[in-house]
C-alpha cells in the first residue's frame, strides 16, 4: 500500500514539475535555432544523420567563429518522431523562445506550419520537400523550398530516363512505376508524372505503400507482374530499406530503379548488401565527406568531442543535406544581419535573408565546398531557386555513392505553370492576396 501511495505521489510530482516546466520559457541573447528532429521511430535511420549534420554545422560556427556576426547560436532539438501532432507541439514550444527559422524535415509537419508561418512571421525552410507550390513566393511569402522541389525532381527523373533510353521520343510505350509513401509527401510527385505521361506517352503505374512501409510484399508482387522498364520511388525511413531489399530479391535491374533524393542515403542501401549495387537516386548536392568543410568539422567539432553523432557519419548523404540546410539558414542570418544592420535578427529578417539567397560557386568555395551544389538564386516570386539535379549511383563494394550524370535542369517550363496554378487555387481557398513581386 505504501508503494502504491509512493508511486502515485512520485508520478504526480513528476507531472506537476513537467507542467511547471511547460510554462517557463526563457529569453536569451543568442540566435535561437530550433531543430525539429526524429531520432526515434521508423524514420530515425534517415532522421539521425540529417539532425547530426544540422547540429554539427552550427556547433562549428560557434566554436570556430563565435557564432554569426559575433552572436552565439543556440540550437535546441525537439523530438517529433515524424509525427505531425508532436511536430505542432514542438513548433509551439520553440516558437515561444524566439525561433528564427523552422526546417521540420517532414512534409506532413511542413503542411501544418504553412498557414502558421505568415501569421507568426517565422520562415519555414523546407529544403527540397514540403508543398511544391510554395515555390510561388507571391502566395507563400514565408515558405521556401529551394534548391528544388518534388515536381521539378520528378520531371528531372523523366529527363534522366529519357536520356538513358536514347531520347525523349523513346519514352513512348515504356512502363514506369512510381512507388510512393502513401502520404502528402509521397503523393506530391504524382500530378507531375501524370502530366508528363500524357506528354511523352509512357505508361504510368502508381503504387502506394502505407506508413511506415515495412510491408511491401503486395507492391513487389505487382512489380513482378507488371515488369516495368523503370521504377521511381518516393520513400522515406524504413520503407527505403525494405524496397531496395525487395527489388534485389526479385532480381530487378537496380540501375533502372531510381529513388528520389529522400531515398538515396547510405542507410537505405546497406541492409541489402551487394544486392543494392547499381541502385540510383537523384540528389541536389554531392555525396561523400572529402570537402574542406568536412575536414573542418572533424578537426574543430569532433576533435573536441562536441559532435552530435559518430565521426564516421560525417559525409553521409543525409549528413551533408542537414549540413547544407544549416548553411542556408546561417548564411541567411548573416545576410540579414548585414542588411538590417542589427546583430539580433528576427524571423522577419531571416525571411528576407532567405529570399535574397544568391549563392554561386565562389560563395560555396569560401565555405569549403567545391562542386557540391549548383548555383542557387532565390527571388520574391521564385522560392525554388532554380536548383539543379544530379543522379548518383550506389557502389556496394566501395560502399559509396558516385555521380553518374552531370548537373541538369528540371523541365521548369512545364513545372512553373503547374506551381502557379496550384498556388493560385490555395490563395483563393484561403483568401490570400498574392504579393506584388514586380
Amino acid at each position: 500500500m505504501y508503494l502504491k501511495k509512493f508511486v502515485i505521489g512520485a508520478m504526480s510530482a513528476a507531472v506537476a514539475a513537467g507542467a511547471i516546466a511547460t510554462t517557463t520559457a526563457m529569453a536569451a541573447e543568442t540566435l535561437f535555432i530550433p531543430s525539429m528532429v526524429y531520432r526515434t521511430g521508423p524514420y530515425a535511420p534517415n532522421g539521425v544523420p540529417f539532425a547530426n549534420g544540422y547540429k554539427d554545422y552550427f556547433t562549428l560556427l560557434n566554436l570556430r567563429d563565435g557564432g554569426i556576426g559575433g552572436v552565439m547560436l543556440e540550437v535546441e532539438e525537439c523530438e517529433t518522431g515524424y509525427n505531425t501532432k508532436v511536430g505542432v507541439e514542438c513548433y509551439e514550444k520553440l516558437k515561444g523562445k524566439g525561433a528564427l527559422a523552422f526546417s521540420p524535415l517532414s512534409t506532413g509537419i511542413t503542411y501544418q506550419l504553412i498557414p502558421k508561418a505568415s501569421v507568426d512571421k517565422i520562415p519555414v525552410f523546407s529544403m527540397g520537400y514540403g508543398r511544391t507550390s510554395a515555390a510561388d513566393g507571391r502566395v507563400f511569402e514565408y515558405i521556401f523550398n529551394f534548391p528544388t522541389t518534388y515536381w521539378s525532381q520528378a520531371s528531372a527523373v523523366i529527363k534522366y530516363i529519357g536520356s538513358k533510353e536514347g531520347g525523349m521520343e523513346n519514352l513512348k510505350g515504356k512502363k514506369i512505376a512510381h512507388i510512393y509513401h502513401n502520404s502528402a509527401y509521397g503523393k506530391e510527385a504524382n500530378p507531375t508524372l501524370e502530366v508528363l505521361a500524357e506528354k511523352f506517352g509512357y505508361d504510368l503505374t502508381l503504387l502506394a505503400v502505407d506508413h511506415p512501409g515495412q510491408e511491401q510484399k503486395s507492391t513487389w508482387l505487382q512489380i513482378r507482374r507488371l515488369k516495368p522498364d523503370w521504377i521511381y520511388m518516393s520513400g522515406w525511413g524504413v520503407m527505403n530499406q525494405v524496397a531496395v531489399k525487395e527489388a534485389a530479391s526479385i532480381g530487378y535491374p537496380m540501375d533502372r530503379f531510381v529513388g528520389n533524393w529522400w531515398s538515396g542515403t547510405e542507410t537505405d542501401v546497406t541492409p541489402a548488401g551487394a544486392g543494392a549495387h547499381g541502385y540510383t537516386s537523384t540528389t541536389f548536392h554531392a555525396p561523400g565527406g572529402n570537402q574542406a568543410l568536412h575536414d573542418e568539422i572533424r578537426k574543430v567539432v569532433y576533435a573536441k568531442g562536441e559532435g552530435a553523432g559518430k565521426e564516421s557519419g560525417v559525409g553521409e548523404v543525409l549528413y551533408n543535406r542537414g549540413m547544407l540546410n544549416a548553411i542556408f539558414i546561417s548564411e541567411a542570418i548573416r545576410r540579414a544581419q548585414e542588411h538590417f544592420k542589427t546583430k539580433n535578427v528576427t524571423g522577419e529578417h531571416v525571411r528576407w535573408g532567405l529570399e535574397n539567397t544568391d549563392m554561386k560557386q565562389e560563395d560555396w568555395k569560401k565555405l569549403g565546398l567545391v562542386d557540391f551544389i549548383g548555383d542557387i538564386k532565390v527571388s520574391c516570386a521564385d522560392h525554388e531557386g532554380g536548383g539543379q539535379v544530379r543522379v548518383q549511383q550506389w557502389d556496394a563494394e566501395a560502399k559509396s555513392w558516385n555521380f553518374v550524370s552531370e548537373w541538369f535542369t528540371p523541365m521548369r517550363d512545364i513545372i512553373r505553370p503547374m506551381i502557379e496554378a496550384d498556388a493560385a487555387a490555395y490563395a483563393k481557398e484561403n483568401n490570400i492576396t498574392p504579393r506584388d513581386c514586380t
Binding site: V15, T22, T40, E77, E89, K93
Partner: protein, 358 residues
C-alpha cells in the same frame, strides 16, 4: 468535513433527479467551468492552448464518444480514427464548398454525417460480438481511411491529399485556421465539449443509457425485458459516431487546421482513444476527461520536465518518456483496473469521512 451531504434535503423530484445530487459536486463543476471559461483564457499562453488544452478537449470528446459505445453499450470499437477522419473531411468539404455555412453548423452536420456512417458500420454488431466486432470495426478504420485517401473528391483534388481549413468566423470572431487567436479556438472548443459532455451525462442516466447498459451487461436478458437490440445498438453507434465525428471536425477546424489521413490512423488515434477510456474508466464521462488528460498530456509534461527542467537531450527524454509512460499505464491498470474515475470515487468516499475515518 468539507465533502459531506448531511443536511442537504431534497424536497422535490427535480432536486432528487438532479445531474449532480450533492451540492459540493455542483459547486465543484461550476467552479471548474468558471475557471475554464474565464480564468484560463486570461492566464494561458499560446503554447498551452495549442499544445495542451485544445488537444485535451478534442480527445476528451472523442473519448466520450467511444465511451458511449464501448463503456456504456459494451460494443468494442477500433474504428475511432476512421470516424474522426469522416468528421474532419466532412467539415473540410462543407467549409470549402459551402463557404456561407456557419462553422458551428458545419461541425454539427459533420457529426451527423459521421453518425450515418457509424450506423452503417454498426450493422454487423447485431451478429458479431466482442473481439470479432473489434475486428469488424478495424475494417471500418482501414476502409474509411483508404476511401478518403484514394478518391481525390474528398480533398478537392489537392495534389498532396492533405486538407486545410480556411478562416471562418463565429460572431465576427475568426475561430478556424492559423489566423484565429488561440483563445478563440480554445473557447469554441470548450463550448462544444461542455454542451456535448452535459448532454452525454444526461443521456447515459436516462432510459436510453439504461437500455445501453442492459445490452452491455447481458444482451439476452435485455431482450427479454423488452429492449430491442437492433435499435439500441444502432443508436449507440449513431450517438457515439456523432461525438467522434464532432471531435474529428474540431480536430481539423479548431486544433490543427491541416490534416491528412495519416493523422487519423490506428496508432495515432484509435488505440490512444481506446486506452483513454480504459485508463480513465469505462462507462464514465468523467473518466473520458481523466483518460484524455492522462494520454495526451502526461507525455508532453514528462518531456518538458526532462528537457526544460533537467536539461536532457531531446532524444534521451523521448526514450525515457516512452519507458515511464508505459510503466505508468501498467501501474495504473494494476492498482486500479477500473480506471482513474474509480480512483477519484474512492477518494471522494474517503473525503466524506475525513478527518475522522472509522
Amino acid at each position: 468535513m468539507f465533502y459531506r451531504e448531511t443536511g442537504q434535503f431534497k424536497t422535490s423530484y427535480a432536486a432528487d433527479q438532479a445531474l449532480l445530487p450533492i451540492a459540493q459536486d455542483r459547486y465543484a463543476l461550476l467552479a471548474t467551468l468558471v475557471i475554464a471559461f474565464l480564468v484560463v483564457p486570461l492566464v494561458a499562453n499560446e503554447y498551452w492552448f495549442q499544445a495542451v488544452l485544445i488537444p485535451f478537449l478534442v480527445f476528451a470528446l472523442a473519448a466520450i464518444g467511444l465511451n458511449i459505445l464501448t463503456g456504456y453499450c459494451g460494443q468494442l470499437s477500433l474504428g475511432t480514427g476512421g470516424f474522426m477522419a469522416v468528421g474532419a473531411y466532412s467539415a473540410y468539404k462543407m467549409t470549402t464548398n459551402l463557404p456561407d455555412l456557419n462553422i458551428v453548423f458545419v461541425v454539427l452536420i459533420s457529426g451527423v454525417i459521421t453518425a450515418a456512417v457509424g450506423i452503417l458500420f454498426g450493422l454487423p454488431s447485431l451478429r458479431i460480438k466482442g473481439f470479432y466486432l473489434a475486428v469488424a470495426t478495424l475494417a471500418a478504420q482501414f476502409f474509411l481511411l483508404w476511401v478518403l485517401n484514394k478518391f481525390g473528391w474528398f480533398v478537392n483534388y489537392s495534389p498532396s491529399g492533405s486538407i486545410a481549413i480556411p478562416p471562418r468566423q463565429v460572431f465576427d470572431v475568426t475561430v478556424t485556421s492559423a489566423h484565429a487567436a488561440p483563445v478563440a479556438r480554445y473557447l469554441i472548443t470548450l463550448s462544444f465539449v461542455t454542451v456535448l459532455a452535459l448532454a452525454a451525462k444526461n443521456l447515459v442516466r436516462g432510459s436510453i443509457g439504461r437500455s445501453w447498459m442492459a445490452i452491455r451487461d447481458m444482451d439476452v436478458a435485455a431482450e427479454i425485458i423488452g429492449i430491442k437490440p437492433l435499435q439500441t445498438k444502432l443508436l449507440a453507434f449513431a450517438v457515439s459516431s456523432f461525438y467522434v465525428g464532432v471531435a474529428g471536425a474540431m480536430f481539423l477546424c479548431f486544433w490543427l487546421g491541416t490534416a491528412e489521413t495519416e493523422a487519423f490512423d490506428l496508432l495515432n488515434v484509435s488505440f490512444p482513444v481506446l486506452f483513454m477510456i480504459i485508463i480513465g474508466g469505462l462507462g464514465s464521462i468523467l473518466g473520458s476527461f481523466l483518460g484524455s488528460a492522462f494520454i495526451t498530456l502526461v507525455p508532453i509534461f514528462l518531456t518538458n520536465a526532462f528537457v526544460g527542467g533537467l536539461g536532457m537531450q531531446a532524444v534521451t527524454a523521448k526514450h525515457l518518456e516512452i519507458i515511464i509512460f508505459g510503466s505508468m499505464i501498467i501501474f495504473f491498470l494494476i492498482v486500479e483496473p477500473h480506471g482513474l474515475a474509480r480512483l477519484w470515487q474512492i477518494m471522494k468516499e474517503k473525503l466524506r469521512l475525513w478527518p475522522f475515518p472509522y
